[in-house]
Subunit: 423 residues, 2 copies
């Protein structure tokens, strides 16, 4: 199908793809866990045996991207080599090996009238994944969906269109070789933006949308979607160093939270130093020495002459870079008020040896992830022991924080009787 | 505030109410479970001591409703008397006594690096309840929300406006007397429909909307809302009587599922009789004898001369009345295909003594509630042991089937470390 399929057909296209996807999903829902695992192993094998085709397609994407003037960072996200492709295949095989929550009983109860009630995990249904330049998402997201019996409609970035098609074709061949329907993973056959709009509007056809990419993409999806969206927009993460913090722990945690990797959503963006904490100069000094640009309020500027003034916008900025805003606060109430006013409900942490204050912070801070004496960079599905993640969510419903297989399931009630009537 | 507050101010009104509600909710989130329980007991007491005021307000609503020509059924839903009001107060006290899921750990894991990860239940936040003529919802829904630390914005029907205000005032006085903020329960001060529109649009301010009422209300809310909605639109519930059904059980279950109460969402609307089941004449005979109008396909009409022809629309109709559509099917595959084509994912049941067929039906039918050898009229939070329900949901995310206290919570991750950095 041509890339320039006209936008007036977008809704019809999504109707058709969703119909095929829902049919395939019903077949997946009847498959057992081992069948789905074997199909993903076959998909991993297909990715490996298709390596020459996939790498050639990727080389064309990279060449087109260079001609189009993509930045080096974008080209790096786009580029595959033999090692990266093996990593993609290995990740699909790893998802195949993950424990499967589908069929698990969440609760079980026998009523006085003898009715047995169970809630069991089931697939959500048909999931739309909208992503940008990294072609690995084509394999990753599809594998996570299929592992728990969901079908997926994938819409990748234009710059990776050839790579995505080659990866998609291998995945489909793998599923089909194992007897599962290839329509379980469909790649949108057009890069027309109207098709994305139609996906976002397809309430009742697509059950959930997961945007994977930069803030612009996520914001557009959240603003326009009528389908429920699982995502986070910002990770404006705070670390509050309390008066009773262990100075060494606080130094290590603050440096890691900001500087280990500055571009990930779990990176610290604002450091709140308690005025009563004596170790602040060492923390700020470490950060500046490590190459971090530190912007602070008046009291933070007084800690180290290299701290530059922060303006109002700094407290609401996710830098995703070696930049940090620092405020000095008077006690936990002021710290938590700052987080409530400026946080994005992603990951916020306290460093303290005072168990009562820690307990209060954990209870009262209203974020998907709240940490005590740990680096916010642990906000990650792998680090949480989930094996993988489809993303991190900061919405309030369904699944929060790192979302992996369990977040890609829902449940139904089973009621087992022996002829009971309500009478 | 006047009832005719102009609609151009609707968004500003909802902004203001939501701001106050979110502030009150933060206070509720810090309260402990006993504090919330005591506040609801105080609210129940206030409802009792305000009985003269509430009943007088209700009498005015009823008089206005009579003058406006409300139907007897609507007037009955609207009317309170001393017994009904005591029932409302007792229901609030019963919610106070329910076990509270907030603070419960859903999961707990210690990672190899020593990090302790817990998921704990927390309130959702600010919940909008949009309902029709029954004034008891003002107390019921508010009590369920507050029990688990949510704030609520209530918008009841115009015909019950005086009753709702009197009930709301008593509830607020109860909360305040126990030291909780009255703004935890706010009643929309206007019946302007634009304010409802503003509630539905208030994504990020209101966390969830629960519509309580007829299909017209639910359909409008589902169509217009940008805020997540927890509800069901239809309860087109099927009972499939398999070839290996016990004839006596099947008779009792079918009669109860249809006729115990015909107007509730768990009532059976379509009966699927297996062609190989010998007991169909008795089942159909019972139903017709009980006053049910039975409409059937050709084979169903052949079972009993009193069965009238069904047309295409019958299979997609929720009668909520003593009317039933009956189809004869050849085996479980055809039964499940009919349910997949015409069901509303609410409650579907099989009657059979064949455990394998039952297991397959329970696994494959994609409804919020799937039953074996039981009447679909058990689809109810009280019958499920939940103590109460805010409604039944047929969406795929967050909470499904009867939704009670647990469905009014979400979770956050707590990460407890000893100085771990990701390094």
């Amino acid at each position: 199908m041509a890339l320039d399929e006209p936008s007036r057909d977008a809704a019809a296209l999504i109707d058709r793809l969703a119909g095929a996807g829902r049919l395939a999903q019903r077949r997946l829902a009847r498959s057992d866990s081992c069948e789905r695992a074997r199909a993903l192993e076959a998909a991993a094998d297909a990715l490996r045996s298709d390596a020459p085709v996939i790498l050639a397609a990727n080389a064309e994407d990279v060449a087109a991207g260079e001609a189009a003037g993509l930045t080096p960072a974008m080209l790096d996200r786009l580029r595959l080599d033999a090692d990266r492709l093996e990593g993609i295949a290995a990740a699909v095989a790893a998802v195949a090996a993950l424990p499967d929550p589908v069929g698990q009983a969440i609760s079980r109860d026998t009523r006085p009238n003898g009715l047995v009630l169970e809630r069991v995990r089931i697939p959500i249904g048909l999931i739309g994944i909208i992503y940008e330049s990294r072609p690995n998402v084509t394999a990753d997201a599809a594998a996570l969906c299929v592992r728990v019996g969901n079908a997926a409609i994938l819409r990748g970035g234009s710059e990776a269109v050839r790579s995505n098609r080659a990866i998609h074709a291998a995945m489909v061949r793998g599923l089909e070789s194992a007897g599962l329907p290839g329509e379980a993973i469909q790649l949108l056959p057009t890069q027309d933006r109207a098709a994305v709009g139609a996906m976002l509007a397809a309430a009742g056809l697509i059950d959930m949308i997961v945007p994977r990419g930069g803030k612009g993409l996520v914001a557009r999806v959240q603003a326009d979607a009528r389908v429920p969206v699982l995502a986070h927009l910002d990770g404006i993460n705070h670390t509050y160093v309390h008066a009773a913090a262990d100075p060494d722990k606080a130094r290590r945690i603050a440096l890691d939270a900001k500087m280990r990797r500055t571009g990930i959503c779990g990176a610290m963006e604002t450091l709140l130093l308690d005025a009563a904490f004596p170790g602040s100069p060492a923390i700020v000094g470490d950060l500046v020495d490590a190459g971090c640009a530190v912007r602070g309020d008046a009291r933070a500027q007084a800690i180290d002459p290299r701290v530059t003034p922060a303006d109002d916008a700094d407290w609401d900025t996710e830098y995703l870079d070696a930049v940090l805003s620092v405020a000095v606060v008077d006690g936990p109430d002021e710290a938590m008020a700052h987080i409530a006013a400026h946080g994005s409900h992603h990951t916020d942490a306290i460093v303290t040896e005072d168990a009562d204050v820690a307990e209060r912070f954990l209870r009262e801070v209203d974020s998907a992830i709240v940490m005590h004496n740990a680096s916010s960079q642990f906000a990650d599905g792998g680090e949480f022991g989930l094996g993988a993640e489809i993303g991190i969510a900061t919405g309030r419903l369904h699944a929060r924080g790192p979302v992996a297989l369990e977040g890609l399931t829902t449940y139904k009630w089973l009621v087992k009787g022996t002829g009971q009537v309500r009478g």
